[in-house]
C-alpha cells in the first residue's frame, strides 16, 4: 500500500491533522464545547461553496467563514444572550444554507464539493500537505506559548479572570485556532466527520487518566491510532477513509468507556 503516492500523502496528512485536532480537542473537550466543532465545520461549507462560486482559493474563503463562525458563536454565548447550543444550531444552519445558495448560483455540477463534505484522501496534493504542515506548526507554537493560560481558563474561567489571566482572550484564541484547524482538516476527513476527530481522542484519553499531561499524550496517541489505523483499514477493505477513521475511534472510545477505571462521564453532561 505504501507504493502509491496518494496513500503516503494521505498518511502524512492524516498524521499531521490528527495531531493538530487532538491537541485542540484536549481543550475543547475539557471546556465541554465539543459541539462547537460541528458548528464550525458546517459553517465552513458556506465558505467552500463561496470560494468555488467566485473563484477564490477555497482554503481562504473557508477559513474566513469558519473563523467568523467560531468567534461569532463565542461572542454571542459569552454575552450571555443566547445559550451555546442555540447559537451553534443557528450558525451551523446558516452556514450550510449559504453554501446551498452559493452552490445553486454556480452553473454546472460541483463534484468537488462532495469530497469536501466527506473527505477525500485522493484529493490531497503536495501543496495541501505543506499548508497543513505550516498551519499546524503555527497553531502548535501558539498553544505551547499560552498553554498554562489555556489550561487555567478551561479549568475555572472565573477564577482565572479573578487572578488576572486574560481568560476572554484565551477563549477567543482557542476558538480561532479550532476554526483554522478544522478548515485545514476537512479535505482529509470531511466537513461531516471532522468534529469527531476533534472530540474522540481527548474523550477517549480522559477515560484513562486524571493527569493533564497523560491525558494530553494519550489524546495525541489515540488521534494517531484512529487516523493511521482508519486509513490502513479503509485501504484494505476499500471503505471510505473518513468514515472508517470515525468508526474506529468510536469503537475504541466505547471500549475505553466500558473498561475505564475512571468513567469520565462529564463529556455527556454539561
Amino acid at each position: 500500500m505504501f507504493e502509491s503516492a496518494f496513500m503516503i500523502r494521505a498518511l502524512l496528512g492524516g498524521v499531521m491533522v490528527s495531531f493538530l485536532l487532538s491537541l485542540l480537542g484536549f481543550f475543547v473537550v475539557l471546556r465541554k464545547m465539543s459541539f462547537i466543532g460541528v458548528g464550525i465545520a458546517h459553517a465552513a461549507f458556506g465558505g467552500v461553496a463561496l470560494g468555488q462560486l467566485v473563484g477564490v482559493p477555497v482554503l481562504i474563503s473557508a477559513t474566513l467563514f469558519s473563523v467568523a463562525t467560531g468567534l461569532g458563536i463565542g461572542a454571542v454565548t459569552r454575552k450571555g444572550k443566547i445559550k451555546e447550543d442555540t447559537a451553534i444550531g443557528i450558525f451551523f444552519a446558516a452556514g450550510m444554507a449559504l453554501g446551498v445558495i452559493f452552490l445553486a448560483l454556480k452553473p454546472g455540477y460541483s463534484a468537488d464539493l462532495v469530497s469536501y463534505l466527506f473527505g477525500s484522501i485522493l484529493a490531497i496534493t503536495p501543496v495541501d500537505l505543506w499548508v497543513i504542515l505550516g498551519v499546524s506548526l503555527v497553531i502548535l507554537v501558539l498553544i505551547l506559548l499560552f498553554f498554562k493560560e489555556l489550561l487555567a481558563s478551561s479549568f475555572d474561567a472565573e477564577l482565572a479572570r479573578a487572578s488576572g489571566i486574560p481568560e476572554a482572550g484565551m477563549f477567543y484564541l482557542l476558538l480561532a485556532l479550532v476554526s483554522v484547524g478544522i478548515v485545514i482538516s476537512i479535505k482529509i476527513v470531511g466537513i461531516v466527520l471532522v468534529s469527531a476527530l476533534l472530540v474522540l481522542p481527548a474523550a477517549t484519553a480522559l477515560q484513562w487518566s486524571r493527569r493533564w499531561f497523560f491525558v494530553l499524550v494519550l489524546s495525541l496517541f489515540f488521534g494517531l491510532l484512529y487516523t493511521v489505523g482508519g486509513l490502513i483499514i479503509s485501504y484494505w477493505l476499500d471503505f471510505p477513509s473518513g468514515a472508517t477513521i470515525v468508526i474506529l475511534g468510536t469503537v475504541v472510545f466505547t471500549c475505553s468507556l466500558l473498561a475505564s477505571p475512571l468513567r469520565y462521564t462529564a463529556i455527556f453532561s454539561k
Binding site: 475539557l30 465541554k32 506559548l145 499560552f146 498553554f147 498554562k148 493560560e149 489550561l151 487555567a152 478551561s154 479549568f155 475555572d156 472565573e158 477564577l159 482565572a160 479572570r161 479573578a162 487572578s163 488576572g164 489571566i165 486574560p166 480522559l206 487518566s209 486524571r210 493527569r211 493533564w212 497523560f214 491525558v215 475512571l262 469520565y264 462529564a266
Partner: protein, 299 residues
Amino acid sequence: MNESRLVSLQDVTVRFEDVTALHDVNLAIKSGSSTALIGPNGGGKTTLLKVIAGLAKPSRGNVRYYDLKHSEIGYVPQENAVDWRFPVSALDVVLMGRYPALGLVRWLGSEDRKVGMAMLSEVGLERLAQHPVGSLSGGQKQRVAIARALAGEPRLLLLDEPTSGADVEAKDNFYTLISRLKQELSLTILIASHDLGVVPKFVDDVACVAGGVHLHTCPSEVWDEEHFQRLYGTQMEAVLHGKVPHRMVQEHHKPQSNPRRSTGDPESSHTNNTVRNDAIRLSKKTNEKSGKKSQKRKP
C-alpha cells in the same frame, strides 16, 4: 495618609437586571485588617467581594486600589461551578495561582513549584499534592483554593463563605488557620461568612451586608453566640438593619494593649448607623498594622 488603605469603595451601586445587589456602599479596607462580612442570603456579600476582585463592575460609584495590583488580590470563591473531574492534581491547581505573576508565554520553574508546595503545606495538604483535585473532600478542596490564592503572593485575601457545610470544630480549625496565615504572610483579609458563632472571634471588624454596608466594631464579648442571639434572635435572616434596636459607635474603639477585648459596655459598642463615611473615617484611625506591608513574605 492613605498608605494604610488597600481598597476603598465610594458610593458603589451594583444593579443586575431587576435587583440592586449593593446600594451606595462606602467601605475602606485597611492594610492588615481582617473584616467579616455577614448578612442574609442575597444580601450582596458575594457581589461585594466580586467588585473588589474586579469580577463585577459597579453600575455606579468607584473602587480605588491604593498601590495594590490586581495580581495581589487573592480571591477564593464561594463555590466554583467547576467540573472536579478535570485532570489536574492539587498541586497543579495551586500552581495556577502562580500563572498571572509569571506572565504569558513563560512556563513554571522550580521556584514556582517550591512556592506551590510551601502553600500546600501551609494549609496542611502537602501529602495530597499529587492527588487529582477531584478526589479531595470538600474541605480539602477549599484549602486547595486558599493555597492557590496564596501562591499568587497576595496582600489582600477575599474569602467567600469558606466554611459553609463544615462542622463547628472544622470551622474553628479553619479560622485558626486563617489567623495564622494572616500573621505569617501579613495578609489583609475580607471574609464573607455565616459563622456568627465563630468568625467574630477572629476578625477586627464585622460589616453587615444587606444591600448596603454597616460597620461594627467587634469585641469578642459582643459577638459570642449567646449575646448575638439575644441581640438578633437566632435567625441569621434577622440581621437586617433598621428593625433591630442596636446602638451606634462613631469611633473604632480599639485598646492598643489587647485589640480583641473591649473595655466598654458591649451594648454600646456597635452601631445602627449606615456607616456611609464612617467606614472610611475608621480606616484613618487604625493604621498601626500598615508597616507590615513591607515585611518579607514567607515563600
